[in-house]
């Protein structure tokens, strides 16, 4: 049982790595800038998924909970239960920040690609290199 779980976990991690590789390939080998932009978004998403995976947990004899206190009159029992079953909030907060930053960078690159097209008439880096 545990072995299967470990194996599945490795499959998940490995598929994330493969995504990372695909995205890097897209950034370095594809000629179109828009394609590079898509690859960048995939790359940063994959890094974020790693972070969340690091913060995950499956507590013994309980279900994992999102990091939100589930009941309002917070008693000691609620807090204890919460602390012992919620997943790690810190990577989630880091990822949130990273997603927004990635979005900002993506927006700017999108604008600059449009400007690039206005000046060069193409978004293909190979053609520009030839000029």
């Amino acid at each position: 049982m545990t072995n299967i779980a470990v194996l599945t976990a490795y499959v998940i991690v490995l598929s994330l790595y493969v995504n990372l590789g695909i995205a890097l390939y897209g950034i370095f080998a594809r000629p179109s800038l828009v394609k590079k932009l898509i690859a960048i978004t995939i790359l940063s998403d994959t890094a974020n998924a790693f972070a969340v995976l690091v913060g995950y947990r499956w507590p013994r004899n309980a279900l994992p909970k999102p990091p939100v206190i589930p009941e309002l009159p917070v008693t000691r029992r609620v807090l204890e239960e919460y602390t012992s079953s919620a997943v790690d909030p810190l990577p989630q907060a880091l990822v949130l920040t990273a997603i927004v930053i990635g979005l900002a960078i993506t927006l700017f690159i999108a604008f600059i690609i449009i400007q690039y097209y206005r000046l060069y008439g193409t978004v293909d880096v190979r053609k520009v290199r030839r000029i």
């Binding site: 932009l37 880091l94 990273a98 990635g102």
Partner: protein, 554 residues
């Protein structure tokens, strides 16, 4: 409790100022002088805060901490400034003030001043944040802030083809690199369970717990101990992080964006980029290789005869050597003056990285300390020198409306003051003895020689020798030919840039004198905390002391 609001406030005020600028621009409209004054005021404010922080560090003699929100240690973000951070913060604030002053002249006639100053303030925020922060994730955010401002400023001349292309290249590769750094943070968090620098520094040196029982107890209580295979995760994190940092610092395999990006930016921004922004990569590398994972840390564990940290440092040395040679060689054949200066930046960053690479585990701490002093001194020297050169080149470019050196033949006689400053700057970067540049190169050279890395010392000299050719080409073509008759009368020197240039020239000379008269010792007394174990302990202790008191445990 000694908490210094000014430390945390310095970047924050700049941010809020730049938040407010578009709002103000809706009221002010087209009155450009207002934006210039606004930029200057906040430049001065930042300088004042940087000076105060510097003074604090010097007076107290130990790193100063600012906990944001009153949260202790690894739970919240802290700003932690030791000697290195304080010096670089002062450098950033001072240099940016000069850049803003120069921008008065450069941007006076151009449009988009409000956006320009907004981005410039963000750039300064990013740099101050990088040097002050004591948290690796905050470092990531600040690097991105710096990067986005830099991308925007590189693309500021939006109708120039090359500028836009450079911005595209810079931003695409920059986004990749910073994502890699984020991945490195994930690995570090995964294995150490913390993102605080002081905490990491302790966790990477578990044996320190034999001495510092209090810090260890506090940190073990708050953030536990390592998880998984620490060595493996650290090495992969270092590899990814150094990729990002060498990209930011434009060291050899990742240097290709710099000669496109730096020349295409507006001239004051070129000065800031070449003078300061690339140094942030070197600073982050220093932090990672010395403060966090220094000698005898987890990274320094010996695996089959080789310490991983040594391997990384040797790689840095080699990369530095290649970029020093490559930058110098390519510089010689450039015709575009700003491109030439950009390649010179690559060469100098190579020298800086060679200095960083000295701290191998076999090398004596004293020598490593000399090397780091040399590195920081070289960062300072090169900052001022390159700022000066870019600013002077801006004056020439404005005069002939071209960036080719050939078009500037004989221009030196028409612009005597600028030329004087330029020559001073070139000699300074070459390392002619009375000027500052000599001493930093000498220190790095000494350290390399003494640590047995003779090859690299020779490369340092060789790189300097090659770059003489490039610099001489500029000087000769500016001075020797006859003055271009068609430009007489049209070209004259504006007092503002000349004043700025003279201030920097004065600083350069002063740096030389200061280095001669004991400045080096002063600097190394500030910086030895970076290299030595005692310094690291101080770095950790001053964080945990304050934090445990804030947590109500102390």
């Amino acid at each position: 409790m000694e908490v210094y609001v000014g430390l945390g406030l310095a970047p924050l005020i700049l941010t809020i100022a730049s938040f407010a600028l578009p709002l103000i621009s809706l009221v002010v409209g087209d009155r450009k002088w207002f934006y210039h004054v606004y930029g200057l005021v906040f430049g001065v404010v930042a300088l004042v805060y940087a000076l105060v922080s510097y003074n604090m560090v010097v007076v107290l003699g130990k790193p100063i901490i600012y906990p944001f929100g009153g949260w202790p240690g690894p739970i919240g973000i802290v700003y932690e400034v030791d000697g290195l951070g304080a010096i670089l913060g002062l450098l950033v604030a001072f240099d940016m003030l000069l850049v803003i002053l120069y921008s008065w002249w450069y941007m006076w006639e151009r449009d988009g001043v409000e956006w320009y100053y907004t981005l410039l303030l963000l750039l300064e925020t990013g740099m101050l944040g990088i040097v002050y922060t004591g948290d690796i994730f905050n470092l990531f955010v600040m690097i991105e802030l710096l990067a986005i401002a830099a991308y925007g400023l590189v693309a500021f001349h939006r109708s120039k083809k090359e500028a836009v292309e450079a911005a595209v290249k810079y931003s695409v590769i920059g986004a990749t690199a910073t994502t890699m750094y984020f991945l490195a943070i994930v690995f570090i968090y995964g294995t150490y369970g913390t993102v605080n620098m002081a905490d990491l520094a302790l966790k990477a040196r578990p044996w320190l717990c034999l001495h510092d029982v209090d810090s260890c107890r506090y940190l073990a209580l708050v953030s536990g101990t390592g998880y998984g295979n620490t060595l493996i995760a650290t090495s992969i994190a270092m590899a990814l992080a150094l990729w990002a940092f060498t990209f930011k610092a434009a060291v050899f395999p990742n240097h290709f964006w710099l000669p496109d990006a730096h020349p295409e930016a507006p001239t004051p921004v070129s000065a800031a980029l070449s003078g300061l922004v690339v140094k942030m990569g070197a600073y982050a590398t220093l932090r990672f290789v010395y403060t966090l994972f220094g000698v005898n840390s987890t990274l320094d564990m010996v695996v089959s005869g080789i310490s991983l940290r040594d391997a990384i440092l040797v790689v840095l040395l080699i990369l530095g050597a290649i970029s020093a040679i490559l930058g110098a060689l390519v510089m010689v054949i450039q015709d575009d003056i700003k491109r030439l200066l950009a390649y010179s930046t690559i060469a100098h960053l190579g020298i800086v990285f060679m200095g960083i690479g000295v701290g191998l585990s076999s090398v004596d701490v004293g020598i490593a300390s000399i090397a780091i002093t040399g590195v920081v001194l070289h960062i300072i020297n090169h900052s001022f020198g390159k700022t000066l050169l870019f600013m002077a080149s801006g004056v020439y470019i404005d005069a002939v409306d071209s960036r080719s050196i050939n078009d500037m033949r004989g221009l030196g006689k028409l612009l005597p003051f600028t030329t004087f400053a330029l020559i001073l700057g070139l000699l300074h970067l070459l390392g002619i003895p009375p000027l500052g540049g000599f001493f930093s190169k000498l220190l790095i050279y000494n350290a390399l020689m003494n640590s047995g890395l003779v090859v690299f010392a020779i490369i340092l000299v060789l790189s300097t020798a090659i770059s003489i050719l490039g610099y001489m080409k500029v000087i000769v073509s500016l001075i020797v030919p006859a003055r271009p008759t068609e430009l007489i009368g049209r070209v004259k020197e504006h007092p503002l840039p000349v004043a700025v240039l003279f201030v920097i020239a004065l600083i350069i000379v002063m740096l030389g004198i200061w280095s001669l008269s004991g400045g080096i010792d002063y600097l190394s007394s500030l910086l030895n905390s970076v290299v030595s174990i005692d310094g690291a302990r101080e770095y950790i202790n001053s964080m945990t002391e304050l934090s445990s008191r804030l947590a109500g445990l102390g």
